[in-house]
Symmetry: C2
Subunit: 236 residues, 2 copies
Amino acid sequence: MTKVTAQMSVSLDGYYAGPRHDGDDGWMESAEAAGFFRVTRWAIDTMGWRERQGFEGGEPDVNSEIITETFEAAGAYVMGRRMAEGGEVPWGDEPPFHAPVFVVTHRPRAVLERQGGTSFTFVTDGVESAVEQARAVTGGKNVAVAGGGSLVRQVLEAGLLDELELHIAPVVLGSGLRLLDDNLRLPDKQAIELTPTRVVHTPGVTHVRYSVNGRAALVLDDRGSGGSGPATVWTE
Amino acid sequence: MTKVTAQMSVSLDGYYAGPRHDGDDGWMESAEAAGFFRVTRWAIDTMGWRERQGFEGGEPDVNSEIITETFEAAGAYVMGRRMAEGGEVPWGDEPPFHAPVFVVTHRPRAVLERQGGTSFTFVTDGVESAVEQARAVTGGKNVAVAGGGSLVRQVLEAGLLDELELHIAPVVLGSGLRLLDDNLRLPDKQAIELTPTRVVHTPGVTHVRYSVNGRAALVLDDRGSGGSGPATVWTE
């Protein structure tokens, strides 16, 4: 069954990049990029290793497996405008998706056909429509929400996301673009419940995959049979 | 060797409680409490189970073990004022610490002696002093930063923290009191690096323990031998 999935590399404090860089150039030298490079290093190291080793068929490094598995599971992508525009030049003639990509944007634009099975379709009637259009062409695989963070938030908030995987890098950035930030508006005493379905840890990154159960009210539990003793030690 | 440690239950989006409740009463019914109860439920469930089973010596539930281990590792505590004042009544005559507690506050106050080995010493000359006073009386065990979140942040920011364990509850709260929030001020392109030393996962919570390596500059890596290809797919 087709699932709507998202995965994101984040710091321990939840940032997927440093503070936002505005302006047309200088991104590579920006604090935004510095944070982004740090949290995605685990993937880059693996890709670099793969290139050096002449992958495929190399040593079954667990991070390589996770990358490969994630690409293979996706039959179509949904993407934010900023990510799509930022990638347009560096991805070149043969972007790595090898699948249809639906870009959520306010700016109408003709479909962009690329080599290797990648196409970019610009969707101007909202994220739900983009997900539906993607779902129609997955061939039974998943719809992967490629990013950026604000799109992942929108999909989660709209109740469209079935699975979320975070790749948690062991670093505290202190500031930047946060995946699950305060713009995720939930009513008071309401939360989104998830179930962890897989945890894979390596020295450079902890991968935690969740299935998204949906919204639930936060109810007062009985604090372990009415006591308010030792348990309050635990946090605040 | 004595380490300075902290552990905290947080939601997947990093909150240890719901939005802050101000005012003298009504906390139990507040959104702050609702969030706090949700992220600490894994511990409460365990404590409740232990009480019902007449612990010690019950089934070796991994969450119970982690709680027991954490209490046993601490020879002294450092605590924020709000937590100490909030706990003063509910903790009663025999608070669960059974060790000296040093409370960081601006308000001088006489030492509070309690039964079972717990005492509260109010430290008015800063967090570093509180940690040092605690370190002097651990008897070789650890100094545990009990919370709340702002104190944990201060200790981390000051470079005093050796170990951080997060108990990540599978829930997105959307708003509230965040442990690693934007008040953790780090210069641009500087981060705090950690090393994951233990990951324990259960259906209700994922425990991730880190040793804190300290501050490091964020440097531009070569993106896997200069390419800017597939890897950029990963986040934004």
